[in-house]
């Protein structure tokens, strides 16, 4: 079954949707879109370093994405003007990454595979890494679910209830870095945030509870992944962007539905 590249691609897409659904809901609730961009763009720098030092791509992107997410998180705690700071970090990270990649021998690097994903080239080993990462994110979010929701609604209420907002923020930071590392090959660094935000935003008008929104985001993300793959084959379009196009179409359709809450 896993011999078929299309089957592997579909399973990779589903794994990303599984993790990106609930995490994307938090990205929407907590207005972390730019935070996500900075982390995702840092992954390109991670790719350059991993290739340069000949370590695993997953480890390289995870490490650099995590470092970036931690940096952004620390800056947020100091109350800097966040949109500006994030704008600098997000685009700075991308530019540094692209420049760093240019130092590598050109034959070894097809940069567009990392910018836009290369889901059709996902092998068995990569599929295993993607699923492991996605399930880890899901387990992390499920474990901290109630605390994460409380901190998102109000850090003061969370603190009064004996929770530690800084710790819950760290959980989201780690989850975000993991999703970036997992999704890099599927949709690429430039479109990872799209897979976080668009399904969650599409789920919002159809949901009456945070849990429902997270579940629907996963379902819509999965639909977008499979629909995008199909479209990519049918119309011979690039797979990563096709998945995001499918998600965006679903988002537009969701706006037509009567708002439930």
């Amino acid at each position: 079954m896993l011999d078929d590249f299309l089957m592997r691609a579909g399973l990779a897409g589903l794994a990303v949707a599984l993790a990106a659904g609930p995490l994307g809901a938090f990205v929407v609730w907590r207005r972390m879109a730019y935070f996500g961009e900075a982390t995702a763009h840092a992954a390109i720098l991670g790719v350059a370093l991993a290739l340069g030092f000949q370590v695993s791509l997953f480890a390289g992107t995870l490490a650099v994405a995590l470092a970036m997410a931690m940096t952004v998180s620390a800056l947020a705690g100091r109350g800097l003007a966040m949109d500006t700071a994030l704008g600098v970090l997000a685009h700075g990270a991308l530019a540094f990454g692209l420049v760093a990649v240019s130092f590598l021998p050109a034959v070894r690097v097809d940069i567009s595979a990392y910018l836009f994903g290369d889901i059709l080239a996902v092998g068995r080993a990569e599929l295993a890494v993607i699923w492991t990462g996605a399930l880890a994110v899901l387990a992390l979010l499920l474990w901290r679910w109630s605390a994460l929701l409380t901190v998102t609604v109000s850090e003061d209420l969370a603190k009064a209830a004996g929770l530690d907002p800084a710790r819950e923020r760290l959980v989201l930071t780690v989850a975000l870095a993991l999703v970036v590392a997992v999704a890099l090959q599927v949709v690429g660094a430039l479109l990872i945030v799209a897979m976080l935000i668009i399904p969650a935003a599409a789920a919002r008008p159809l949901s009456r509870s945070p849990e429902m929104m997270a579940l629907l985001a996963t379902a819509l993300g999965a639909l977008a992944a499979l629909g995008g793959l199909w479209g990519s084959l049918a119309f011979d379009t690039p797979a990563g962007p096709s998945i995001v196009v499918a998600a965006t179409v679903l988002f537009a359709l969701s706006r037509l539905a009567p708002r439930r809450a």
Binding site: W29, A147, T150, V153, K159, A160, A161, L163, R208
Partner: protein, 268 residues
């Protein structure tokens, strides 16, 4: 039994001192109210006691494992997250359906379980916040301007409910309020705050203090008599014997004035 205490507490934001030299404590079963003008550090004091604001000086000691119920001044909820009243009341700890519906009835908004938080009026929202705080079965209940958005009868029944909670559960209660008249009637002890503690003690003592009058004018003193009813305080409530060393910048008569007025209270 002391639930929480601050000693020499100071807090500042970006170099601006919001609080200094605050010594206070809240015991089980007492209602303490903090009054003060805008920018006097009332909310900072509350947030420091909650542990949200890190003190820049002094320290806060809590009884180990203290359960706190907190009603914030306001809570910004936007409609990015779909959140019903029932789900909100179950954050972070799950509450049973019956428990939730009983508590909503108790705070005067029965049947709101299924409503989205964003659809509530200001008054309904404040009551839901109170319900959430009470569901935690708090040993210390902290209310920061909790009656905002409530009409007059709503405010009155709100304070009655607080009084009931204190009587039934023996919880200590810390309120921040602008509602001077009601505060004076409902509190065992009043702390008058203006960056530091100007004066504290029983309501009638504080309203007579020159520091209080300087902040709030004389007018409230007269109306207070209408509201002050005979609370029988079984504890030694008038704890305004704060260290005179802290009062160096103050009118030297200050401590004396307090003591003078304290005596009849003890005799009675």
């Amino acid at each position: 039994m002391t639930l929480i205490a601050a000693r020499g507490l100071g807090a500042s934001y970006g170099g601006v001192v919001a609080l200094r030299d605050v010594d206070m404590q809240i015991d089980a079963g007492e209602i303490v109210t903090v009054v003060g003008p805008n920018g006097s550090g009332k909310s900072t004091l509350v947030r420091a006691l909650l542990g949200v604001v890190r003190p820049s000086a002094g320290r806060i000691t809590r009884r180990a494992g203290l359960r706190i119920g907190y009603v914030p001044q306001r809570l910004a909820v936007d409609d990015r997250m779909p959140l019903s009243v029932a789900r909100f009341l179950s954050l972070p700890d799950r509450r049973g359906r019956g428990e939730i519906s009983a508590m909503l009835g108790r705070v005067g908004v029965p049947g709101l379980e299924g409503r989205q938080l964003t659809s509530l009026s200001g008054g309904q929202f404040q009551r839901v916040l109170l319900a959430r705080a009470l569901l935690a079965d708090p040993e210390l209940l902290i209310l920061d301007e909790a009656t905002q958005g409530l009409d007059q009868p709503g405010t009155a029944s709100f304070y009655e409910l607080i009084e009931d909670v204190r009587r039934e559960t023996g919880a200590g209660i810390l309120m921040v309020s602008h509602d001077l008249h009601v505060v004076m009637a409902a509190s065992d002890r009043v702390i008058c705050l203006n960056g530091h503690i100007c004066c504290q003690g029983q309501p009638h003592v504080v309203t007579a203090a020159p520091e209080y009058r300087a902040l709030f004018g004389l007018g409230t003193h007269g109306t207070m008599a209408l509201y002050q009813h005979a609370h029988d305080h079984d504890h030694d409530a008038c704890d305004h014997s704060h260290d005179p060393d802290h009062e160096s910048g103050h009118d030297p008569d200050h401590g004396h004035a307090h003591r003078e007025r304290e005596e009849p209270a003890h005799a009675g």
